[in-house]
Symmetry: C2
Subunit: 231 residues, 2 copies
Protein backbone atom coordinates (compact mmCIF):
# COMPACT_ATOMS: atom_id res chain seq x y z
CA UNK A 1 0.00 0.00 0.00
CA UNK A 2 1.36 3.37 -1.03
CA UNK A 3 -0.16 5.27 1.88
CA UNK A 4 1.91 8.11 3.35
CA UNK A 5 0.44 10.17 6.17
CA UNK A 6 1.69 12.71 8.70
CA UNK A 7 -0.93 13.05 11.42
CA UNK A 8 -0.10 15.90 13.78
CA UNK A 9 -1.77 16.26 17.17
CA UNK A 10 -1.93 20.05 17.07
CA UNK A 11 -0.73 22.83 14.82
CA UNK A 12 0.71 25.07 17.52
CA UNK A 13 2.56 24.12 20.68
CA UNK A 14 2.27 26.52 23.63
CA UNK A 15 4.65 29.43 23.13
CA UNK A 16 5.51 28.48 19.55
CA UNK A 17 4.40 29.61 16.10
CA UNK A 18 2.02 27.94 13.67
CA UNK A 19 3.43 24.53 12.61
CA UNK A 20 6.78 25.54 14.11
CA UNK A 21 7.26 22.44 16.25
CA UNK A 22 6.79 20.11 13.27
CA UNK A 23 8.34 22.09 10.41
CA UNK A 24 11.29 19.76 9.97
CA UNK A 25 8.97 16.74 9.88
CA UNK A 26 6.79 18.50 7.29
CA UNK A 27 9.82 19.10 5.06
CA UNK A 28 10.97 15.51 5.47
CA UNK A 29 7.45 14.28 4.75
CA UNK A 30 6.58 16.19 1.58
CA UNK A 31 10.21 16.31 0.45
CA UNK A 32 11.63 18.25 -2.49
CA UNK A 33 9.53 16.53 -5.17
CA UNK A 34 6.24 18.10 -3.98
CA UNK A 35 5.99 21.73 -5.09
CA UNK A 36 2.36 22.62 -4.38
CA UNK A 37 0.19 21.50 -1.48
CA UNK A 38 -3.60 21.54 -1.53
CA UNK A 39 -4.84 23.06 1.73
CA UNK A 40 -8.28 22.27 3.17
CA UNK A 41 -9.44 25.08 5.50
CA UNK A 42 -12.99 23.84 6.12
CA UNK A 43 -12.56 23.38 9.88
CA UNK A 44 -12.49 27.11 10.57
CA UNK A 45 -15.13 29.72 9.78
CA UNK A 46 -12.82 32.28 8.16
CA UNK A 47 -11.30 30.21 5.38
CA UNK A 48 -9.53 33.12 3.67
CA UNK A 49 -7.67 34.09 6.80
CA UNK A 50 -6.88 30.46 7.60
CA UNK A 51 -5.51 29.88 4.13
CA UNK A 52 -3.24 32.91 4.42
CA UNK A 53 -1.80 31.55 7.67
CA UNK A 54 -1.08 28.16 6.13
CA UNK A 55 0.18 29.65 2.87
CA UNK A 56 2.60 32.02 4.61
CA UNK A 57 4.02 29.26 6.78
CA UNK A 58 4.37 26.61 4.09
CA UNK A 59 5.98 29.16 1.78
CA UNK A 60 8.85 29.48 4.27
CA UNK A 61 9.31 25.70 3.96
CA UNK A 62 9.43 25.88 0.18
CA UNK A 63 5.86 24.94 -0.78
CA UNK A 64 3.19 26.83 -2.68
CA UNK A 65 -0.33 26.46 -1.32
CA UNK A 66 -3.57 26.14 -3.26
CA UNK A 67 -6.69 26.18 -1.12
CA UNK A 68 -9.56 23.90 -1.97
CA UNK A 69 -12.02 26.65 -1.02
CA UNK A 70 -10.60 28.85 -3.77
CA UNK A 71 -10.94 26.14 -6.41
CA UNK A 72 -13.78 26.33 -8.95
CA UNK A 73 -14.08 22.55 -8.67
CA UNK A 74 -12.90 21.13 -5.34
CA UNK A 75 -13.10 17.52 -6.57
CA UNK A 76 -10.88 18.35 -9.52
CA UNK A 77 -8.47 20.17 -7.21
CA UNK A 78 -8.09 16.96 -5.18
CA UNK A 79 -7.59 14.95 -8.38
CA UNK A 80 -4.72 17.26 -9.36
CA UNK A 81 -3.11 17.56 -5.93
CA UNK A 82 0.53 16.61 -5.38
CA UNK A 83 0.07 16.74 -1.62
CA UNK A 84 -2.84 17.41 0.75
CA UNK A 85 -2.90 19.23 4.10
CA UNK A 86 -6.12 19.36 6.12
CA UNK A 87 -5.90 21.91 8.93
CA UNK A 88 -7.45 21.80 12.39
CA UNK A 89 -10.44 23.57 13.86
CA UNK A 90 -13.85 22.02 14.44
CA UNK A 91 -13.95 18.37 13.39
CA UNK A 92 -17.74 18.24 12.87
CA UNK A 93 -17.66 21.29 10.62
CA UNK A 94 -14.72 19.85 8.71
CA UNK A 95 -16.24 16.42 8.13
CA UNK A 96 -19.60 17.90 7.08
CA UNK A 97 -17.86 20.15 4.53
CA UNK A 98 -15.83 17.24 3.16
CA UNK A 99 -19.07 15.34 2.54
CA UNK A 100 -20.88 18.45 1.23
CA UNK A 101 -18.13 18.84 -1.38
CA UNK A 102 -17.94 15.11 -2.21
CA UNK A 103 -14.30 14.93 -1.21
CA UNK A 104 -14.22 11.99 1.20
CA UNK A 105 -13.96 9.19 -1.36
CA UNK A 106 -11.84 11.33 -3.65
CA UNK A 107 -9.22 12.00 -0.98
CA UNK A 108 -9.24 8.36 0.07
CA UNK A 109 -8.57 7.20 -3.47
CA UNK A 110 -5.81 9.73 -4.01
CA UNK A 111 -3.98 8.75 -0.83
CA UNK A 112 -4.47 4.98 -0.89
CA UNK A 113 -4.31 4.36 -4.63
CA UNK A 114 -2.09 7.14 -5.94
CA UNK A 115 0.17 7.59 -2.92
CA UNK A 116 -0.47 11.32 -2.58
CA UNK A 117 1.03 12.39 0.77
CA UNK A 118 -1.61 13.48 3.32
CA UNK A 119 -0.90 15.70 6.29
CA UNK A 120 -3.50 16.45 8.92
CA UNK A 121 -3.43 18.56 12.02
CA UNK A 122 -5.83 18.01 14.93
CA UNK A 123 -9.27 17.85 13.23
CA UNK A 124 -7.42 17.07 10.02
CA UNK A 125 -5.89 14.05 11.76
CA UNK A 126 -9.28 12.95 13.13
CA UNK A 127 -10.88 12.85 9.70
CA UNK A 128 -8.05 10.68 8.34
CA UNK A 129 -9.08 7.82 10.66
CA UNK A 130 -11.99 5.38 10.85
CA UNK A 131 -14.37 7.92 12.38
CA UNK A 132 -14.58 11.17 14.31
CA UNK A 133 -16.08 9.39 17.34
CA UNK A 134 -13.02 10.32 19.41
CA UNK A 135 -12.72 14.01 18.64
CA UNK A 136 -12.67 16.48 21.54
CA UNK A 137 -14.63 19.07 19.64
CA UNK A 138 -18.06 20.51 20.28
CA UNK A 139 -20.67 19.11 17.85
CA UNK A 140 -21.60 22.50 16.41
CA UNK A 141 -22.98 21.06 13.16
CA UNK A 142 -24.47 17.68 12.23
CA UNK A 143 -22.49 15.73 9.63
CA UNK A 144 -24.22 13.01 7.57
CA UNK A 145 -22.20 10.33 9.41
CA UNK A 146 -19.31 10.12 11.89
CA UNK A 147 -17.46 7.78 9.50
CA UNK A 148 -14.40 9.56 8.18
CA UNK A 149 -11.94 9.13 5.31
CA UNK A 150 -10.59 5.87 6.75
CA UNK A 151 -6.94 6.10 5.73
CA UNK A 152 -5.91 4.04 8.78
CA UNK A 153 -7.74 1.26 10.71
CA UNK A 154 -7.71 3.05 14.09
CA UNK A 155 -9.01 6.28 15.60
CA UNK A 156 -7.04 9.19 16.99
CA UNK A 157 -7.65 11.43 19.96
CA UNK A 158 -5.58 14.56 19.31
CA UNK A 159 -4.53 16.95 22.10
CA UNK A 160 -4.54 13.90 24.38
CA UNK A 161 -4.46 14.93 28.03
CA UNK A 162 -3.46 12.81 31.01
CA UNK A 163 -5.82 12.90 33.98
CA UNK A 164 -4.98 15.74 36.38
CA UNK A 165 -4.99 14.27 39.91
CA UNK A 166 -5.41 17.76 41.39
CA UNK A 167 -8.43 18.74 39.32
CA UNK A 168 -11.69 19.44 41.12
CA UNK A 169 -13.61 19.49 37.85
CA UNK A 170 -16.08 16.62 37.62
CA UNK A 171 -16.26 16.23 33.84
CA UNK A 172 -14.96 12.90 32.56
CA UNK A 173 -11.21 12.62 31.97
CA UNK A 174 -10.04 12.00 28.45
CA UNK A 175 -9.26 8.38 29.30
CA UNK A 176 -12.74 7.84 30.77
CA UNK A 177 -14.25 9.20 27.56
CA UNK A 178 -12.25 6.83 25.38
CA UNK A 179 -13.17 3.90 27.64
CA UNK A 180 -16.84 4.90 27.26
CA UNK A 181 -16.33 4.74 23.51
CA UNK A 182 -14.99 1.21 23.87
CA UNK A 183 -18.15 0.19 25.74
CA UNK A 184 -19.88 0.49 22.36
CA UNK A 185 -19.73 -2.46 19.94
CA UNK A 186 -17.12 -2.83 17.20
CA UNK A 187 -15.01 0.18 18.04
CA UNK A 188 -11.43 0.46 16.78
CA UNK A 189 -8.37 1.15 18.90
CA UNK A 190 -7.69 4.76 19.82
CA UNK A 191 -4.31 6.45 19.69
CA UNK A 192 -4.08 9.43 22.01
CA UNK A 193 -1.64 11.88 20.46
CA UNK A 194 -0.37 14.25 23.12
CA UNK A 195 0.34 17.82 22.08
CA UNK A 196 3.74 18.00 20.45
CA UNK A 197 3.56 14.53 18.92
CA UNK A 198 2.70 13.28 15.46
CA UNK A 199 2.29 9.95 13.73
CA UNK A 200 4.10 9.17 10.51
CA UNK A 201 2.39 6.37 8.57
CA UNK A 202 4.24 4.79 5.66
CA UNK A 203 2.62 1.77 4.10
CA UNK A 204 1.77 -0.51 7.03
CA UNK A 205 4.18 1.03 9.50
CA UNK A 206 3.47 3.88 11.90
CA UNK A 207 6.17 5.83 13.71
CA UNK A 208 5.65 8.29 16.53
CA UNK A 209 7.57 11.54 16.06
CA UNK A 210 7.83 14.66 18.18
CA UNK A 211 8.38 15.45 21.82
CA UNK A 212 5.71 13.44 23.63
CA UNK A 213 4.71 9.80 24.08
CA UNK A 214 1.64 8.06 22.78
CA UNK A 215 -1.40 6.98 24.80
CA UNK A 216 -2.82 3.79 23.31
CA UNK A 217 -6.26 2.47 24.19
CA UNK A 218 -6.58 -0.85 22.41
CA UNK A 219 -9.93 -1.91 21.12
CA UNK A 220 -11.51 -4.55 23.35
CA UNK A 221 -12.92 -6.31 20.33
CA UNK A 222 -11.35 -5.64 17.01
CA UNK A 223 -8.21 -5.09 15.04
CA UNK A 224 -4.93 -4.21 16.67
CA UNK A 225 -3.35 -1.00 15.50
CA UNK A 226 -0.51 -1.43 13.13
CA UNK A 227 3.10 -1.89 14.03
CA UNK A 228 4.08 1.12 16.02
CA UNK A 229 7.53 2.36 16.84
CA UNK A 230 8.06 5.10 19.39
CA UNK A 231 11.26 7.03 18.83
CA UNK B 1 -47.29 27.11 30.03
CA UNK B 2 -47.13 24.50 32.76
CA UNK B 3 -43.45 23.69 32.24
CA UNK B 4 -41.43 22.94 35.37
CA UNK B 5 -37.77 21.97 35.00
CA UNK B 6 -34.76 21.60 37.26
CA UNK B 7 -31.65 21.51 35.07
CA UNK B 8 -28.57 20.64 37.09
CA UNK B 9 -25.05 21.21 35.75
CA UNK B 10 -23.60 18.07 37.31
CA UNK B 11 -24.71 15.32 39.65
CA UNK B 12 -21.70 15.34 41.95
CA UNK B 13 -19.63 18.27 43.17
CA UNK B 14 -15.97 17.59 43.99
CA UNK B 15 -15.74 15.99 47.42
CA UNK B 16 -19.49 15.48 47.78
CA UNK B 17 -21.89 12.59 47.29
CA UNK B 18 -24.23 11.85 44.40
CA UNK B 19 -26.85 14.65 44.13
CA UNK B 20 -25.79 15.86 47.58
CA UNK B 21 -25.23 19.50 46.60
CA UNK B 22 -28.72 19.81 45.14
CA UNK B 23 -30.78 17.57 47.40
CA UNK B 24 -32.73 20.42 49.00
CA UNK B 25 -33.55 21.85 45.55
CA UNK B 26 -34.72 18.40 44.42
CA UNK B 27 -37.09 18.12 47.37
CA UNK B 28 -38.40 21.64 46.80
CA UNK B 29 -38.82 20.88 43.10
CA UNK B 30 -40.70 17.58 43.19
CA UNK B 31 -42.41 18.44 46.49
CA UNK B 32 -44.52 16.11 48.62
CA UNK B 33 -47.17 15.42 45.97
CA UNK B 34 -44.81 13.41 43.76
CA UNK B 35 -44.29 9.92 45.17
CA UNK B 36 -42.57 8.08 42.32
CA UNK B 37 -39.98 9.41 39.88
CA UNK B 38 -39.25 7.83 36.50
CA UNK B 39 -35.47 7.58 36.09
CA UNK B 40 -33.80 7.48 32.67
CA UNK B 41 -30.35 5.82 32.90
CA UNK B 42 -29.58 5.66 29.16
CA UNK B 43 -26.49 7.91 29.34
CA UNK B 44 -24.38 5.26 31.08
CA UNK B 45 -23.51 1.77 29.91
CA UNK B 46 -24.39 -0.07 33.13
CA UNK B 47 -28.01 0.93 33.55
CA UNK B 48 -28.73 -1.43 36.46
CA UNK B 49 -25.92 -0.03 38.54
CA UNK B 50 -26.82 3.54 37.60
CA UNK B 51 -30.45 2.98 38.57
CA UNK B 52 -29.41 1.60 41.95
CA UNK B 53 -27.36 4.74 42.63
CA UNK B 54 -30.25 7.02 41.73
CA UNK B 55 -32.81 4.87 43.53
CA UNK B 56 -30.80 4.74 46.75
CA UNK B 57 -30.26 8.49 46.79
CA UNK B 58 -33.80 9.54 45.91
CA UNK B 59 -35.16 7.10 48.49
CA UNK B 60 -33.40 9.12 51.19
CA UNK B 61 -35.28 12.17 49.90
CA UNK B 62 -38.63 10.37 50.11
CA UNK B 63 -39.11 9.27 46.49
CA UNK B 64 -39.52 5.83 44.96
CA UNK B 65 -37.73 5.32 41.65
CA UNK B 66 -38.93 3.39 38.61
CA UNK B 67 -36.38 3.08 35.85
CA UNK B 68 -37.49 3.36 32.25
CA UNK B 69 -35.03 0.60 31.30
CA UNK B 70 -36.89 -1.82 33.57
CA UNK B 71 -40.27 -0.98 32.05
CA UNK B 72 -41.88 -3.43 29.62
CA UNK B 73 -43.10 -0.42 27.62
CA UNK B 74 -40.92 2.70 28.04
CA UNK B 75 -43.44 4.94 26.24
CA UNK B 76 -46.19 3.83 28.59
CA UNK B 77 -43.88 4.41 31.54
CA UNK B 78 -43.44 8.02 30.45
CA UNK B 79 -47.20 8.38 30.00
CA UNK B 80 -47.74 7.26 33.59
CA UNK B 81 -44.87 9.21 35.16
CA UNK B 82 -45.51 11.68 37.99
CA UNK B 83 -42.00 13.10 37.62
CA UNK B 84 -39.02 12.46 35.33
CA UNK B 85 -35.30 12.48 36.09
CA UNK B 86 -32.77 12.00 33.28
CA UNK B 87 -29.29 11.34 34.62
CA UNK B 88 -25.93 12.36 33.19
CA UNK B 89 -23.30 10.41 31.30
CA UNK B 90 -22.71 10.53 27.57
CA UNK B 91 -25.09 12.92 25.82
CA UNK B 92 -24.85 11.25 22.40
CA UNK B 93 -25.64 7.84 23.83
CA UNK B 94 -28.53 9.31 25.81
CA UNK B 95 -30.12 11.16 22.92
CA UNK B 96 -29.79 8.17 20.59
CA UNK B 97 -31.50 5.93 23.15
CA UNK B 98 -34.32 8.45 23.65
CA UNK B 99 -34.98 8.36 19.92
CA UNK B 100 -34.54 4.58 19.70
CA UNK B 101 -37.26 4.19 22.33
CA UNK B 102 -39.55 6.85 20.83
CA UNK B 103 -39.45 8.92 23.99
CA UNK B 104 -38.51 12.39 22.74
CA UNK B 105 -41.98 13.57 21.72
CA UNK B 106 -43.58 11.67 24.57
CA UNK B 107 -41.47 13.40 27.21
CA UNK B 108 -41.99 16.76 25.55
CA UNK B 109 -45.76 16.36 25.64
CA UNK B 110 -45.79 15.21 29.23
CA UNK B 111 -43.70 18.16 30.41
CA UNK B 112 -45.17 20.95 28.29
CA UNK B 113 -48.80 19.82 28.16
CA UNK B 114 -49.28 17.90 31.37
CA UNK B 115 -46.87 19.81 33.60
CA UNK B 116 -44.94 16.74 34.69
CA UNK B 117 -41.82 18.00 36.52
CA UNK B 118 -38.57 17.23 34.66
CA UNK B 119 -35.19 17.09 36.31
CA UNK B 120 -32.00 16.64 34.30
CA UNK B 121 -28.38 16.38 35.31
CA UNK B 122 -25.52 17.17 32.92
CA UNK B 123 -26.40 15.15 29.77
CA UNK B 124 -29.98 15.06 31.09
CA UNK B 125 -29.94 18.87 31.07
CA UNK B 126 -28.47 19.00 27.56
CA UNK B 127 -31.26 16.88 26.08
CA UNK B 128 -33.91 19.14 27.65
CA UNK B 129 -32.80 22.04 25.44
CA UNK B 130 -33.01 22.90 21.73
CA UNK B 131 -30.14 20.62 20.75
CA UNK B 132 -27.06 18.82 22.02
CA UNK B 133 -24.78 20.98 19.88
CA UNK B 134 -23.18 22.42 23.02
CA UNK B 135 -22.42 19.25 24.95
CA UNK B 136 -18.85 18.61 26.12
CA UNK B 137 -19.10 14.90 25.53
CA UNK B 138 -17.27 12.66 23.11
CA UNK B 139 -19.47 11.62 20.16
CA UNK B 140 -19.20 7.89 20.87
CA UNK B 141 -22.41 7.03 18.98
CA UNK B 142 -24.29 8.72 16.13
CA UNK B 143 -27.80 9.89 17.03
CA UNK B 144 -30.39 10.42 14.26
CA UNK B 145 -30.23 14.19 14.86
CA UNK B 146 -28.69 16.64 17.33
CA UNK B 147 -32.14 18.18 17.94
CA UNK B 148 -33.24 17.40 21.47
CA UNK B 149 -36.46 17.44 23.48
CA UNK B 150 -36.77 21.21 23.21
CA UNK B 151 -38.31 22.05 26.57
CA UNK B 152 -36.62 25.48 26.56
CA UNK B 153 -35.65 27.82 23.67
CA UNK B 154 -31.94 27.94 24.50
CA UNK B 155 -29.01 25.53 24.79
CA UNK B 156 -26.99 24.62 27.87
CA UNK B 157 -23.31 23.94 28.33
CA UNK B 158 -23.04 21.99 31.57
CA UNK B 159 -19.81 21.76 33.61
CA UNK B 160 -19.01 25.22 32.21
CA UNK B 161 -15.35 26.09 32.73
CA UNK B 162 -13.75 29.52 32.67
CA UNK B 163 -10.59 29.84 30.59
CA UNK B 164 -7.47 29.02 32.62
CA UNK B 165 -4.92 31.78 31.94
CA UNK B 166 -2.11 29.50 33.15
CA UNK B 167 -2.94 26.57 30.90
CA UNK B 168 -0.41 25.51 28.30
CA UNK B 169 -2.91 23.22 26.61
CA UNK B 170 -3.78 24.39 23.11
CA UNK B 171 -7.27 22.92 22.76
CA UNK B 172 -10.02 25.53 22.43
CA UNK B 173 -11.40 26.98 25.65
CA UNK B 174 -15.04 26.36 26.42
CA UNK B 175 -15.90 29.94 25.49
CA UNK B 176 -14.10 29.62 22.14
CA UNK B 177 -16.11 26.48 21.40
CA UNK B 178 -19.41 28.19 22.12
CA UNK B 179 -18.39 31.17 19.98
CA UNK B 180 -17.58 28.74 17.14
CA UNK B 181 -21.10 27.37 17.54
CA UNK B 182 -22.46 30.88 17.14
CA UNK B 183 -20.58 31.27 13.86
CA UNK B 184 -23.12 28.81 12.45
CA UNK B 185 -26.50 30.13 11.25
CA UNK B 186 -29.64 30.25 13.45
CA UNK B 187 -28.08 29.07 16.68
CA UNK B 188 -29.81 29.72 20.00
CA UNK B 189 -28.27 31.36 23.04
CA UNK B 190 -26.13 29.17 25.27
CA UNK B 191 -26.25 29.14 29.05
CA UNK B 192 -23.02 27.90 30.59
CA UNK B 193 -23.91 26.23 33.88
CA UNK B 194 -20.84 26.05 36.07
CA UNK B 195 -20.47 23.03 38.32
CA UNK B 196 -22.54 23.53 41.45
CA UNK B 197 -25.27 25.53 39.73
CA UNK B 198 -28.69 24.60 38.40
CA UNK B 199 -31.49 26.30 36.54
CA UNK B 200 -35.07 26.21 37.81
CA UNK B 201 -37.56 26.87 35.02
CA UNK B 202 -41.18 27.55 35.96
CA UNK B 203 -43.46 28.60 33.14
CA UNK B 204 -41.58 31.41 31.38
CA UNK B 205 -39.25 32.25 34.23
CA UNK B 206 -35.81 30.79 34.85
CA UNK B 207 -33.96 31.13 38.14
CA UNK B 208 -30.36 30.25 38.79
CA UNK B 209 -29.83 28.22 41.97
CA UNK B 210 -26.74 26.79 43.59
CA UNK B 211 -23.29 28.03 44.45
CA UNK B 212 -21.94 29.38 41.15
CA UNK B 213 -22.81 32.07 38.61
CA UNK B 214 -24.04 31.64 35.08
CA UNK B 215 -22.07 32.20 31.89
CA UNK B 216 -24.39 33.49 29.19
CA UNK B 217 -23.44 33.55 25.52
CA UNK B 218 -26.30 35.27 23.74
CA UNK B 219 -27.21 34.17 20.28
CA UNK B 220 -25.95 36.62 17.67
CA UNK B 221 -29.07 36.09 15.61
CA UNK B 222 -32.08 34.69 17.34
CA UNK B 223 -34.26 34.66 20.39
CA UNK B 224 -33.08 36.01 23.70
CA UNK B 225 -33.18 33.58 26.57
CA UNK B 226 -36.06 34.03 28.90
CA UNK B 227 -36.15 36.27 31.91
CA UNK B 228 -33.35 35.14 34.13
CA UNK B 229 -32.81 35.88 37.77
CA UNK B 230 -29.54 35.03 39.46
CA UNK B 231 -29.93 34.51 43.21
Amino acid sequence: MKRRLLLVSNSTVHGGGYLEHCQQQIKDFFGPQVKRILFVPYALHNQDSYTKTARDKLKTLGYEVDSVHEAADPVEAVRQAEGIFIGGGNTFRLLKALYDHNLVTEIKNRVLQDGVPYMGSSAGSNVATVSINTTNDMPIVYPPTFSAIGLVPFNINPHYLDPDPNSKHMGETREQRILQYHEEPDTPSVLGLREGSMLLVEGNQATLLGSTKLYLCKSPLTAEPETLRQH
